[in-house]
Amino acid sequence: MARADRTRRLSKPERAAAEPPGDRVATTTCYMCAGRCGIKVHLKDGRVRYIEGNRDHPVNRGVLCAKGAAGIMQQYSPARLTKPLLRVGERGAGQFREIEWDEALATAARWLGEIRARDPRQLAFFTGRDQSQALTGWWAQQFGTPNYAAHGGFCSVNMAAAGLYSVGGSFWEFGEPDWEHARYFLLFGVAEDHDSNPIKIGLNRLRQRGAKIVSVNPVRTGYSAIADEWVGIRPGTDGLFVFALIHELLRMERVDLGFLVRYTDAPWLVVRNPGGADDGLFARDGAGRVLAWDRRSNRETDAQAAEIAPLLVGEVTLADGRRAVPVFQLLAERYLDPRYAPDAVAPRCGIAAAAIRRIARELAVTAFEQEVVLDQPWTDWAGRRHERMVGRPVSMHAMRGISAHSNGFHACRAIHVLQMLLGAIDTPGSWRYKSPYPRPLTPAMKPAGHAHQVAPGQPMPGPPLGFPLGPEDLLVEADGTPRRIDKAFSWEAPLAAHGLLHQVIRNAWKGDPYPIDTLFLYMANMSWNSAMNPEGTAAMLADRAADGRYKIPRIIYSDAYFSEMVAYADLVLPDTTYLERWDCISLLDRPIGGAEGPADAVRQPVVKPDRDVRPFQDVLLELGARLKLPGLAAADGRPRYRDYADYIQRHERKPGIGPLAGWRGAEGDAVAVGAPNPRQLERYVENGCFWRHHLPPDQLYFKHANRAYLESAAQMGFIDRPRQIVLQLYVEALQKFRLAAQGHGPAQPPARDRARIERHFDPLPIWYVPFEEAAIDGARFPLHAVTQRPMPMYHSWGSQNAWLRQIYDQNHLYVHRRTAAALGLKDEDWVFVVSHHGRVRCRIRLVDGVNPQTVWTWNAIGKRAGAWALSPDAPEARRGFLLNHAISEMLPAGGEAERINADPVTGQAAWYDLRIRLEPAPAEAGPADRMPALVPPPGMRARGGA
């Protein structure tokens, strides 16, 4: 017998207990998804040894997800590009010549300089999962093109727009549940997607405290799997479900009238003048103040005055003779309608009416009988002191399953209305704003790009993205023709606050509304998983006009990896990894602050690139200088900024306000507003690469109406004036578009858009059948098909990771057992997913945890053969599949002209609207799609990549 109790020599892992994991530790910010967690990178001999969560960091508090821990394999991936490339063969053939950076930059500057001198709109600059939008958007503005956006039009603009027009914040980025006080948590349409670690940390906190977690999602995985109740809703019906909850709360008289009167527009008077140009607008006095009806004085009054007792129900006659009713009456009339009763909506939602009634009761009981009371005095906007903070402990969160539908804007608005009716906005236990939110209602920033704002060789006077408040803010020609290449802010997508990345290639290819010269993309895998209809999109990228020229004449692309998009670029600018560069997570962009206070962060280079690549932000600044863009070139023509790090420290958007809010001022002692600090980045690094400001306890809730908070927010430059932000049940801006569609005002929609605008620009939330479902024959395409984000992966760059692909290297299509049985399908059968648009082959697995009318798969695992330095026979290409192949960027051709497959309010891509049928398919025989294998560029081949 060996090894009996004895003194023994230590084994290798035991000996390692005496050694530190590396020889150096550096903090920085993760980029393996959009969550932006703080990380500590242990280095050994200059290489990454171990990445862990930073315990001090406000986002992840020390934990790290699978993606974050796999960052090491992202750093050492063979799919990394090595050197700038110039295309020498056909587009898509992947034949490139390696060039030096000087040639690459000179080429790009020549191309871009020509079009800027001619017509800046000839540049379409679209960035994907870009975390430097404060820079890229400003760069586009200085270039002078309105044709700029990131990928929000694909992802979440319905959430952002619905939130920012309703409550001045939004789910995920601009708000979070009060994990420490909530007693009931309602989660809509969330798989892994946003916010990754904070939601997981929060779910555990809720569970520890015994709060009830209800997950509304057609698919029972992840968060839905551990929820106390899974509501397996039919996709695209969430809005109806929420209306039924609202109906029940109104019916039971379980709404927070006090909250509505104090904090929302519920008592604001709406003009009732059918057919008139002011019908449905707020009643205002001569000074432009919105009116309410004071029941004590029995006359009209400034709706925002403090000591009034406003009317909530009843029609009044205004001093000028017009008739008006309070918003609350319009709301109650609409949702008390029997068509929104639980019994009426249950069959369509696939949820039992009894369950809807029960959830409504639970919401009411939790909100009104289990109040959270904090002994924390605070002062409201009118200067009235309150001894306690009283909260409604019902929290909500929503994401992709709400946003990616053509009725998603209104569905998200419906959720915000539900929150307001429960009095559950920024109170203890409810959903809370992440500072620097809330922002004023209505949103202040308008998009630039009107005819008088775009001129050869000139910057635009404002940013390309913003928030239209009426038809006059649309970027259209006099005849209604869109001015942007993606048709954002046109009658087709008026509130397209994030642009329409998903329409750019098609429009550029068609020359609709006009041809462009250069398509400049960053981190946007637009010929693959970031496109609906990837095969058609790839064909458009490579398509030539009759004269032999490419229909999209020039394509510049920057990425760190050999994604499916690289082969379609004429010029490739290889980016570094996130561990090799400076970055800033800015309050001007998408901040990481929380309800307890604002925060921002940086990335610092922790390893040196071992190849000829450059940070895209450095490249963009140098290109800007070569183009002599205002603000980017100094008077002598030399670059204004040495590099991105220099820009981060010295750039000022307004006096005293720059990319980073921490340690401003020459001495580094100013918060949020102060002169540039030449040692600012040093201070960030000393502090673990992030900055946070703790709000004092009296500012932690009711931020929209909390005087101390509003004053401090104004001082920090988050809002212009410390005025109450009145939450909007009723969005008047929508009514302005509707009135235009009814023929009022100078800005008129083209005839083809008139009825669509009138129907969908309802100032109160509505529900309608998703467009694809309405356009197809339901008998031919009886099933919904959606994707879920796998927890260990983020888009296509996660699924090429050597470790993560050992978790999932192919994706099945998950089908409910009963649905499969009815179709005669068995586990592991091969099928075609067939839509109105196309088909893709895949293999099925039978499950119980899915809505029976829905099939689903993981997103972005399927890969094009040869891409990402995977071998062409990789399972991702042969057995995995991309559901996008079945999704069209256009709606099925109907009687009328073609329509984009998007939300009619925001232009959000409606890729969750997909309807399909299943057909038996032959077993695996080649790739799931029909696209030929890609060939890696020369430098990657030389290094052994694929």
Binding site: R3, A4, D5, R9, S11, K12, P13, E14, A16, A17, A18, E19, P21, Y50, I51, N60, C65, A66, A69, A70, L203, N204, R207, G210, K212, R220, T221, G222, A225, I226, D228, L250, L257, V261, R295, E307, I308, A309, P310, L312, V313, G314, Q329, A332, E333, L336, D337, R358, R361, E362, V365, E369, M791, P792, A802, Q806, V847, D848, A874, P875
Partner: protein
């Protein structure tokens, strides 16, 4: 054959307690484990064909997903599985070279790769499938409970827990001495009815799993929550008389 250390009362038994009630199946533990151990004393955890047709490699911890029940009783369960550090570890007693052993001082089961000949007898003996052969290195690999972290004085004391425990975003993983009934982990097991895996096989695994809890009963509807159905019109009339101050 290799012997187990003699059993002593109050024997320290370090192990994991894994809460299936909150595990969302995110794989954070598995990947962080792979990362820590690949470059550490227990590594490498070799990858085979990492960018090819059959990507595979060594993992100390794998997450299995399965469904139980149907309809209203149905649920999806995520089940992380790693070495259970059995008190009567068959993988140790079966080892012909003494490479597999159980530490007397804390009960951790380890493989001394200097002695391992890669014969795989231990992986056959383990009923839990917790051991994996590193085909590149020719040695058996398994969870070490991060023995090079938990006793590592170069680390911050808060970091001296296994990597999987440190990183778990839902705090589903707990680490401690299951041999001590007064330890936090032992109390957690007692409180939540923690279970051993396949106890009937008699290997006396140390790790425990906390089963999914029964779901809370729906909040009782209070009397005030229910009012008789009435028409929208009469409902609106009632609100006309509300006197509410801003």
């Amino acid at each position: 054959m290799t012997s187990l250390p003699p059993k002593r009362p109050g024997q320290k038994q370090l192990g994991l307690v894994i809460d299936l009630d909150i595990c969302v199946g995110c794989h954070a533990c598995a990947v962080n484990c792979k990362e820590w151990n690949n470059g550490g004393g227990a590594g490498p955890l070799s990858d085979l064909d990492p960018y090819g047709a059959r990507p595979d490699g060594v993992w100390f911890n794998r997450i299995h997903a399965f469904e139980t029940g149907e309809g209203e009783d149905g649920r999806t369960v995520y089940f992380p599985k790693s070495c259970l550090h059995c008190e009567d570890a068959a993988c140790v007693t079966v080892c012909p070279t003494g490479a597999s052993f159980k530490r007397a001082e804390d009960g951790i089961v380890l493989v001394d790769e200097a002695l391992c000949i890669g014969c795989k007898l231990c992986s056959w003996a383990c009923p839990y499938g917790a051991r994996e052969l590193d085909e590149k290195e020719g040695v058996m690999r398994k969870c070490t409970l991060c023995v090079d972290r938990i006793y590592n004085e170069t680390l911050d004391p808060a970091d001296r827990v296994p990597a999987c425990v440190s990183t778990c975003p839902v705090s589903a993983r707990h680490f401690g001495d299951l041999g001590d009934p007064q330890s936090d982990v032992a109390k957690l097991v007692a409180e939540r009815g923690g279970v051993a895996l396949l106890p009937e096989l008699g290997y006396r695994p140390v790790n425990r799993y906390l089963p999914p809890r029964r779901r809370p009963v729906a909040a009782a509807a209070s009397a005030a929550a229910e009012t008789a159905a009435e028409s929208a019109g009469s409902k609106l009339l009632r609100w006309v008389d509300q006197l509410l101050s801003r």
